[in-house]
Symmetry: C2
Subunit: 379 residues, 2 copies
């Protein structure tokens, strides 16, 4: 299965595995695919440790990193930025979340809340450069930006290091902007994908992006969790697939078991695209959390990054309590997942998922070739 | 391209063309595909005339019919039913539509409103049998039901005549119900399709339906308007495709030019799934009509069939005025269409669209076969 993507990255099969668990990333790269670490929550020191560990596992095989940096980075003191953002969260919203947790009887955390500040600190110019210093000190083959066009500094440093730059797009206008920004690989993300998505489906979006990408490889994302869906993406003109959700059914994925259990029993109708977690529409498992935010009289979710700042501690408490089997927390529990969740049957090793997708795709391509070669038969 | 569908229907290629224009249906069947007439608005006499005309064109080639009949037909006087339904339309809704048409300065119709009554009359037992009498007096190869499981009488009469029965499904639960009802062909309709759709995309839904359909052929519908999308549907395990939107870019389609012009300039982001036209969520071109119904303070759309009864005359007036170039009517003008509308470049003959899809699909299948046959190459 040689495509523009396998040539660019030097991998066996055009299957990119996107995940926040270093164990998934390394297993995908070790099994013929290309692992990409979703490194949106790390300090530079944490990121360095993760990439070092991955390298020990992949033994020279290529892998990549996905960062969350804004196209225009802020300047000034991160603490001032954080304080200014906190001041924008209305009391009504704070009360709503407090009351919601109380009604579901969610206990306080046993450990203090850790995240939020670091994530935002990465948004200032110094934080971005420090992260990029770490990335480019490692032999990554691809760097991606999770939201919007990559900042000029990321593109310049990637080009200087011979590292490919990828970016996610949800509509044709995005793709034009990304190509102008110097992106090498476009990831056409359909609405069925987990996480932040637009409204156009993979079936419609992929050929649209392929047609305007010129020589740039296009990966299809959203709705791809099997070899036949991978073959369908190639049929649409993609040079490969970018899969996120499928790994949440792997043993190596670090998502809490309480969430994974909900995924295993979910159907393809059980996701929704909602701003109630991040402030931007993101596909996730529907839970009591969304019912509460959608109830008449509930406040509208705040824009990013205020909504995650408002609710970050609540989610830590929900995750911890759900993990202990707390019923209210279990009802609220959710995470980002695509519509392919309906196909999850049981947890499996990431390497097995990778090999099965690649082998099934190759077999399906053979069947399609034979179907095309058969002459028309009238019965 | 021999599949379970081409064997069942005796056609060259597994491409079903679904349209309300007899000229499109006959051209699809004449060009290697299988035309299906969307015959949801006809009296038995009108339907008989349409099918007779199609038969003269297709010269023995197979074609099908799609009806809109409820699973449980009503008994009693159609006029009573109509009066009872009319009484359920709130004055607030009537005033809202009147005020909307006034604000957009939509003129009265030059001809009186004709439809609505007949459509509903078909819903009673006598009306359904009269339509089925017409259908089975013609050599149709397939009969489909547009909404929900077909009534038992349709399945029984089809089996007795050796006619295949098809039905549209938007989620796995629907498919199980349809198979239980005796349906032979399942059409897995993704959310990107025009008309009444669910929320699951074609990429996700198609393999789900294939896995539970057993030997029954599954057609993918939604997002399929090109040979590569047709090849993708086959990769997903479908035995063929069921295409509706693509024909609205054909010369033979009877949709008003005012609507077709809006389609040609639309992007894939310009559709929405809304109940504001039929009372059930249906994908259509977004227009000022939807903006008005979504405005705060606007009444909620009524359930089917009340919403089309409320707005049928308004749409006739909008269509007629838009056709004459009226600006307010042009702003409101809309029709059912899938996300593939973004790929419409110009109008073409239905035969050319059919041949291009079949030939491009065959070529793409060949390419995929060669891609699968290439050994893995590490760069």
């Amino acid at each position: 299965m040689r495509t523009a993507l396998t040539d660019l990255l030097g991998v066996e099969a055009p299957l990119v595995g996107f995940n926040r668990s270093p164990g998934v990333v390394s297993e995908v790269s070790r099994s013929g695919g290309f692992g990409v670490l979703a490194a949106t929550m790390y300090t530079p020191e944490q990121l360095d440790a993760q990439l070092t560990w991955i390298e020990q596992q992949v033994e020279g095989r290529p892998y990549g990193v996905d960062l969350l940096v804004p196209g225009n980075v802020a300047h000034g003191d991160p603490a001032d930025l954080l304080a200014s953002l906190r001041a924008q969260i209305p009391d009504e919203h704070v009360r709503f979340v407090d009351e919601l947790l109380e009604r579901y009887e969610i206990p306080a955390r046993s450990r203090p809340h850790e995240q939020g500040g670091e994530l935002l600190a990465n948004f200032d110019a110094t934080g971005v450069e420090a992260l990029l210093d770490v990335v480019f000190a490692h032999p990554v083959a691809l760097v991606a930006n999770a939201l919007g066009p990559p900042p000029a500094t990321m593109v310049e440093r990637a080009k200087a290091s011979g590292v490919a730059v990828a970016s996610l797009v949800g509509k044709p206008e995005h793709a034009r902007r990304q190509l102008d920004a110097g992106v090498d690989v476009l990831v056409a993300q359909g609405t069925e994908a987990g996480g932040h998505t637009g409204t156009i489906t993979t079936m419609v979006l992929t050929p649209e992006i392929v047609d305007l990408a010129g020589d740039a490889p296009v990966l299809a994302a959203g709705g791809v969790a099997s070899g036949r869906q991978m073959a369908a993406a190639l049929a649409l003109g993609a040079s490969g697939v970018w899969c996120g959700s499928v790994w949440l059914a792997s043993h190596e994925d670090i998502t809490p078991d309480s969430v994974k259990r909900k995924f295993l029993s979910a159907s393809s109708s059980d996701t929704l695209r909602s701003p109630a977690r991040t402030g931007k529409p993101a596909r996730q498992l529907r839970s009591a959390w969304h019912d509460e935010w959608e109830r008449p009289g509930s406040p509208a979710p705040l824009p990013m990054p205020l909504q995650p700042m408002l609710t970050g501690d609540a989610w830590d408490r929900i995750d911890e309590a759900a993990e202990a089997g707390h019923p209210g927390a279990t009802a609220l529990e959710s995470y980002y997942i695509g519509q392919v969740v309906g196909a999850f049957a049981e947890l499996a090793p990431a390497a097995e998922i990778t090999r099965r997708m690649i082998d099934d795709c190759a077999a399906r391509l053979g069947e399609l070739g034979r179907l095309g070669a058969e002459s028309a038969v009238r019965v």
